[in-house]
């Protein structure tokens, strides 16, 4: 299929779709995708036309439109800066609450797929294998974190003191048994 053929098909179909007021992507529905793919298939082509958007591959089948996963739909993971950022911009540089706070984007950030196709937004917590309520309970518990540390450090201090006392007593006992001062 020639390049200008599919350009014509897409332009023809999209000409009926109006752009959003803020000049963002126009919203196209699955019927429009189906129309375009059907038009492509009516042309001479060696391959199956598909539409890739929002992490899914849309292909035409006997029932209409089917969606499937393909590695090519994975998000782009090589952002500007080649993953290198100043340490001051890294998560955690501002303390635990960079992530562990009730409204932290680390858990509650909304991810919108930048695509003309209408897709559902996702929340960051969906990628963490845990539920939002548990994450927020844990985050709110961070106000007690200094108490937690204080109690455990005190316990460690007490037990270390006992161990030190045992060591000193043991050393004293050993010195007594060897009678070093009498030699």
């Amino acid at each position: 299929m020639k390049k200008d053929s599919y350009e014509l098909i897409v332009k023809k179909v999209l000409s009926t779709v109006s752009f959003k007021k803020n000049n963002s992507w126009p919203i196209i529905n699955e019927n429009i995708i189906l129309n375009i793919l059907t038009s492509f298939e009516s042309q001479t082509s060696e391959s199956t036309p598909v539409y890739v958007s929002g992490g899914k591959v849309y292909a035409r089948n006997s029932n209409g439109l089917s969606t499937s996963y393909h590695p090519i739909t994975d998000p782009y993971t090589w952002p500007i800066g080649h993953n290198v950022r100043p340490a001051t911009m890294s998560l955690g540089s501002g303390g635990c609450t960079d992530c562990h706070s009730a409204d932290s984007p680390f858990y509650t950030g909304i991810i919108t797929v930048d695509s003309p196709l209408k897709t559902d937004d996702a929340m960051m917590v969906d990628f963490h294998s845990q539920n939002l309520f548990a994450a927020q309970v844990f985050s709110n518990a961070f106000i007690f974190r200094p108490w937690l540390k204080g109690i455990i450090y005190s316990s460690v201090f007490l037990i270390l003191s006992l161990l030190a006392l045992l060591f000193i007593n043991g050393l004293g006992k050993w010195i007594d048994s060897t009678e070093l001062d009498e030699s």
């Binding site: 994450a135 844990f138 518990a141 455990i152 316990s155 460690v156």
Partner: protein, 139 residues
């Protein structure tokens, strides 16, 4: 002579210890790669109770377990288990306390987690050993 306060501390400590074991190891046995969610919340909530009860209990039992190397009533093995358990508590607690700060890099943080994990296993084995010998002694 029975000391009811010491027995209460001992019982509460044992309950909190098994709480720590269950919330610490069950998620890993179930196939999770680490603690998170409710397991983590429960584990962290029980931890201060466990550690302070251990410290108080250790002070109650220190003399009986021969801290002064005189009048040690307990058996040698009990004393060994008792002091080794307290010794293992130090790396177990400090490793996780240090990892709560931004003092160390990622590699050291992973080492801390390993230390916490293996010293925790060591403490569990010592308690199992203690109960096994206790049962054999009674039997």
């Amino acid at each position: 002579m029975v000391n009811p306060r010491r027995n209460m501390v001992n019982t509460l400590w044992l309950i909190s210890f098994f709480g720590m074991v269950i919330t610490g190891f069950i998620p890993l046995i179930l196939g999770n790669t680490g603690l998170n969610g409710w397991w983590m919340i429960l584990h962290v909530s029980i931890a201060p109770l466990f550690s302070i009860l251990l410290a108080i209990g250790a002070m109650y039992y220190a003399k009986k377990m021969g801290i002064d190397f005189n009048d040690a009533h307990g058996r040698k093995l009990d004393r060994f288990i008792f002091w080794l358990f307290l010794l293992l508590f130090i790396p177990c607690a400090l490793s996780i306390l240090f990892s709560m700060n931004a003092w160390f890099g990622s590699t050291t943080q992973y080492v801390f987690l390993k230390v916490h994990f293996y010293s925790g296993i060591g403490m569990l084995l010592l308690v199992i050993l203690h109960f096994k010998f206790l049962r054999n002694n009674k039997g």
